[in-house]
């Protein structure tokens, strides 16, 4: 039991037919998630994250391929899966006209448990919204809604927890708190699959799968992903950012250049003495307030590089 992977995805293909065009949502993806790890599915909107989660929670049927959760086949044993997973969809899916307490009571009861039985599991999260327990769910703030949704998904002590973009539309402080909660849940032995479009959250996962247009680009630890990035990377800024981008892109020794916050990230094709190349461009274009640094790649840089391949 211990050695068995919590989630196994094997060559899953899913297509949608929208009017007459066929849209490929998942393009034969495979990975597996170990027990008790936080596994991130990282990718932009439309990458296929929600489709994948729905297939794993038995809500959708894949066109081909196989998947299992907790050792149960998602198609054949869907009833067992519905008994043991927790699922928090991307859209806030609680009853807006029921109070905080009523929502939690409802989900506890339909999963055949009580709030008291598993209270210690949700205590940290629920305590924060307990002062508002008589308030209607529809009147909560985004962060509180998300905490309530997580409490409802956890109340039956699921063995695997699926969180579809739980931090979308939530402020930075609440996001940070939310990830801290996930780490505490992990300590309770719950396997967590979490999808997000925020690249910076990848480093908070044990392992991540980078997904783009229905295909997995890489499955690794966050450190492993950045280590795969071998090319030299520089950050540059100046007052004339738009022209700078065009000038850099014209240089044949540069592989790519893309905006990143207040900087442009520049990837060179080869190792070597690359700084003079940038300095030359800056001099030629009479740029002002220039700043040039060699930097370590983050997940987003890796994502950009992997997308190009």
């Amino acid at each position: 039991m211990k050695n068995m992977a919590a989630v196994v995805v094997d060559n899953i293909v899913k297509t949608y037919r929208i009017k007459k065009t066929v849209v490929q949502a998942l393009n034969g993806i495979s990975f597996s998630v170990d027990r008790g790890e936080i596994f991130g599915i990282i990718g932009p909107d439309g990458a296929g994250k929600t489709s994948l989660f729905r297939i794993l929670t038995s809500l959708l049927l894949a066109d081909s391929g196989a998947a299992s959760v907790d050792g149960f086949d998602v198609v054949k044993d869907y009833k067992q899966i519905r008994n043991r997973v927790g699922y928090m969809p991307g859209k806030f899916s609680l009853y807006q006209d029921l109070s905080v307490q009523e929502n939690l009571q409802f989900f506890a009861t339909i999963f055949g448990t009580t709030i008291q039985e598993n209270y210690n599991l949700i205590k940290d999260i629920y305590q924060q919204i307990e002062p508002f327990k008589d308030r209607k769910a529809g009147q909560l703030s985004g962060g509180m809604k998300q905490k309530l949704a997580l409490s409802c998904a956890l109340i039956h002590k699921p063995s695997v927890l699926f969180l579809d973009e739980p931090t979308t539309g939530v402020d930075a402080v609440s996001r940070k708190e939310f990830w801290e909660m996930l780490h505490r849940l992990k300590e309770q032995g719950i396997t967590i699959l979490v999808s997000t479009a925020y690249m910076d959250e990848a480093s908070l996962c044990d392992r991540v799968a980078l997904i783009q247009k229905g295909s997995i680009l890489s499955v690794n630890t966050p450190e492993g992903v950045t280590e795969e990035f071998k090319k030299p990377l520089w950050a540059i800024r100046a007052n004339e950012m738009f022209h700078l981008m065009n000038d850099i892109k014209d240089d044949p020794s540069i592989e790519s250049c893309y905006p990143f916050g207040q900087y442009h990230h520049v990837v060179f094709k080869k190792d070597g003495n690359n700084k003079p190349i940038l300095e030359k461009i800056v001099q030629k274009g009479n740029y002002t307030n220039v700043e040039i640094d060699s930097i370590k790649p983050n997940i987003e840089d890796c994502f950009m590089a992997l997308m190009k391949e």
Partner: protein
């Protein structure tokens, strides 16, 4: 941890073997949705009451105290008896006695009267010696419905009189009028629409409201969460329908109380049978609602599908507003697949004609078969997954 989680899973399983707790909390939750949406609840409770009162009083085609004129060229015992009967009825008020044919046209043109009754001379003599006499009814047909109703009322009164004369006669007297009535001698219009409103309200509350309630969960995304739970999908649906069943039973009670005590439309047959048949029809309507919700993706779609496939057919094909016998044959055939038609016949038979189960077993059987087919279809089409 593993052993512990296994234990809780086992506990869940045994609990779910009964599943009544889950079912109950679902019904409670559904009831809270209805209870907290006060505006909708208000409409659900008041709609049938308002409909009954509207149809009963405002939109009635029953005509009371219509002003009429009489031109009696005979002035004998028989005509004065008939005139007395007519004046005594609450439908008519004789405001003018005319003395020539010319007066008739003039009085009509003044717009004072809606009906004139003309007795020829020698009315009683004709009746006694030839056993047959004639009465002419002239109605203002600018409003054809009223004209039709008035002539029917007058004819009914004359027929009554004729019957009272004939009680001990071997050779019956006949007073000839052009119009005859077959049924409902007092022409109480409330008789027709009480069963119609019942069918309409049950269709609306059960089918439309349940289909909207189910689709609302799909639209809000909560269906996604409760599908990924140990609750059996079809139990979810049944649990959702129960509060609406309760509301529609309340509606039926309101309608029946109003029709008996306010509109004075009696329940001639068995009340128990009436309620049993109404429950059957409620289940028919609920299964239609579930079937609609299977296909609809948005609440609006569910509402329009319900209106088009339930409300209009109930209005048009149940015989409530328009007699089915007068429709072209293709429409008559179509009317057979409208469940409301059969329910209308059943309610009419029990409430108004006072008939027992023996008279309506065929209609009941049709409804039962329809319900099973609809329920079967909605179970078969119910999606245990999304899309």
């Amino acid at each position: 941890m593993d052993a512990q989680s296994l234990n809780t899973h086992k506990a869940k399983k045994s609990l779910f073997g009964g599943g009544s707790k889950q079912f109950f909390i679902f019904v409670k939750k559904e009831w809270l949705h209805i209870w907290r949406d006060r505006r909708t609840l208000f409409i659900l409770i008041w709609m049938p009451i308002v409909q009954i009162i509207l149809y009963g009083f405002a939109l009635t085609n029953e005509v009371k105290n219509s002003q009429i004129a009489v031109f009696d060229q005979s002035n004998d015992q028989a005509t004065s008896n008939i005139i007395h009967e007519i004046d005594a009825s609450r439908y008519f008020e004789i405001i003018k006695y005319l003395h020539s044919y010319k007066d008739i046209g003039a009085t009509f043109r003044q717009g004072k009267i809606r009906l004139a009754i003309v007795f020829p001379s020698n009315f009683r003599n004709d009746l006694l010696h030839t056993n047959s006499a004639q009465v002419q009814l002239i109605a203002d047909a600018s409003d054809p419905n009223t004209a039709n109703t008035l002539t029917n009322y007058a004819t009914a009164i004359i027929n009554d009189y004729q019957q009272s004369l004939n009680q001990n006669k071997v050779l019956p007297y006949t007073i000839k009028t052009q119009l005859r009535m077959l049924y409902n001698p007092e022409l109480k219009s409330a008789y027709n629409f009480v069963p119609g409103v019942m069918a309409l309200v049950l269709m609306l509350v059960c089918a439309m409201m349940t289909s909207i309630a189910i689709v609302r969960e799909k639209e809000l995304g909560t269906m996604e969460v409760i599908l990924v739970s140990p609750l059996k999908p079809f139990r979810i649906i049944i649990a959702k329908t129960i509060p609406y069943l309760a509301v529609s039973m309340l509606n039926i009670a309101c309608i029946l109380l109003l029709s008996v005590y306010v509109l004075k439309v009696p329940i001639n047959g068995s009340l128990f049978l009436l309620i049993a048949e109404s429950t059957l029809f409620t289940i028919t309507a609920l299964s239609i609602g579930i079937l609609i919700s299977n296909g609809a993706k948005t609440q609006q779609a569910a509402m329009f599908t319900s209106l088009l496939s339930l409300f209009l057919p109930t209005l048009l094909f149940s015989g409530f507003l328009f007699p089915i016998e007068n429709m072209p044959l293709p429409l008559q055939i179509i009317s057979n697949i409208v469940p409301s038609k059969w329910y209308y016949i059943i309610v009419e038979s029990i409430m108004i004609k006072g008939l027992g189960f023996a008279a309506i077993w065929k209609e009941t059987l049709i409804l039962v078969v329809m319900t099973f087919v609809l329920l079967g279809l909605s179970i078969k089409n119910f999606k245990i997954r999304l899309a």
